[in-house]
């Protein structure tokens, strides 16, 4: 399972890409989409909704079950990937690119609980 270099990772298997000092892009990792199986639905949050680190902000559903997605950062939703409404399978096919889920803005992000790609790789070996 690919762990992309240069991204930050949460223990709940979300990735964070720093777009700018005040904007990040968020998705779920290749490992997470593989564990979920075929994703058939995502309940996207509203733009301008507040998200809090460690709290669920959206739900992805595979054929078998619904699973919460936990926000890896605190901030405000700046954009959602509307393509996922009609093509949720993009999360399976392209978890780090076309399958991104939301962009979150904040004047000051706290990444202290997130892992580097190398740390996430070792973390995956333990789970």
């Amino acid at each position: 399972m690919e762990v992309r270099k240069g991204l930050l990772y949460s223990k709940e298997h979300e990735w964070v890409q720093e777009v700018s000092d005040s904007l990040v892009r968020i998705g779920i990792t290749a490992y997470a989409q593989d564990q979920l199986g075929d994703i058939v639905y995502i309940e996207l949050p509203e733009v301008n909704a507040q998200v809090t680190e460690g709290e669920p902000f959206t739900v992805v559903e595979s054929v078998k079950a619904a699973s919460d997605v936990y926000s890896p950062v605190t901030g405000t939703i700046a954009a959602v990937n509307e393509k996922l409404e009609d093509s949720p399978e993009l999360i399976n096919e392209s978890p780090y690119d076309d399958g991104w889920i939301v962009e979150v803005k904040s004047s000051e992000f706290d990444f202290s609980n997130l892992m580097t790609a190398e740390e996430y790789e070792s973390y995956l070996k333990e789970v």
Binding site: G37, D38, V40, Y41, E43, V59, E61, S62, V63, K64, A65, A66, E85
Partner: protein, 361 residues
Amino acid sequence: MAEKTPLYEKHVALGARMTEFAGFFMPLQYTGIVGEHQNVRTAVGVFDLSHMGEILVTGSKAQDFLNYVTTNDVSSLTPGAVQYNLLTNENGGVIDDILIYRVPEGFYLVVNAANKDKDFQWLSSHKLDETAVVDLSPSTALLAVQGPNALPVIEKVLEYELESMRYYSFADLLYHGERIRVSRTGYTGEDGFEIYLPPHLAPQLWEELLAVGKPYGIQPIGLGARDTLRLEMRMSLYGNELTEEITPLEAGLGKFVDFDKGDFIGREALLKQKAAGVKQKLVGFVLKERGIPRQGYKILKQGQPIGFVTSGSMSPSTQKAIGLGYVDSEHAKAGNIIEIEIRNQKVPAEIIKGRFVIKKK
């Protein structure tokens, strides 16, 4: 510690995601539920169902005994035929839904894996004199071959003509010199066969099916797709649509309840329910907006609770969110719009008649 079927190593070697189900390690999926589902609808798939239970009932009073513990008329079974039937308790609640094969030595019951021990105890404690109830599950493996290409694959592997075998009938055949049981049955809505055989032959049959079936597009299919395949065909699953608190009449299985065959456990309660009219009915529904119904979600009508969801999924064949559930009978009409409560949102759904996917025969 869960048990392994004789095909456990095959599943692991194929990279299956294994899950514990009814005390067995079973394959949930190999490559993905949606792809496996489509493969059964368009080509053919092979399932390991060795976790299922097989119980043999024999003796001079075996038929009377079975007629007393089930709802359907066992005496109508002709040799070589298979019957869908239900074990019910005194309240008419469903203990299990089963298949009964009329075999030369008596009656061969195929029961749900999760209910096997419960059924065996129920049967043993109610059996009449001169009847024997034997659990054959440990010495029985079960493979299912399902899909429009099932027939040519199974005929080539077993080297028997099976085209003339009728739906819900079976034959005992020889495979590598040993007796196996083959029935034209299944849980997918497709043509297909189920094969009961000694566990030591199961790996060989599995390999031969995959090899011979290759030009026919055969794939191994896990329990995940088994569930979506049966759901699209509106077939009930024990633990979801059927429980000891639900009667066959509520579940829409009245045609498998024969009140004229004589007394049976639950008859009185079911007769009473039939006379009074069932209070709740099983319905199928399709969501009209985004979302997926799941077991346990509330069903509402104008905001008031009228029932609950028993199964739900995205239908791989129709790409629609579909479900089954119980609603108060007054709301059960096809075309009625209900609401499914999904994470505090009310999503409208339409009750539909019949199966979610119509197969051309």
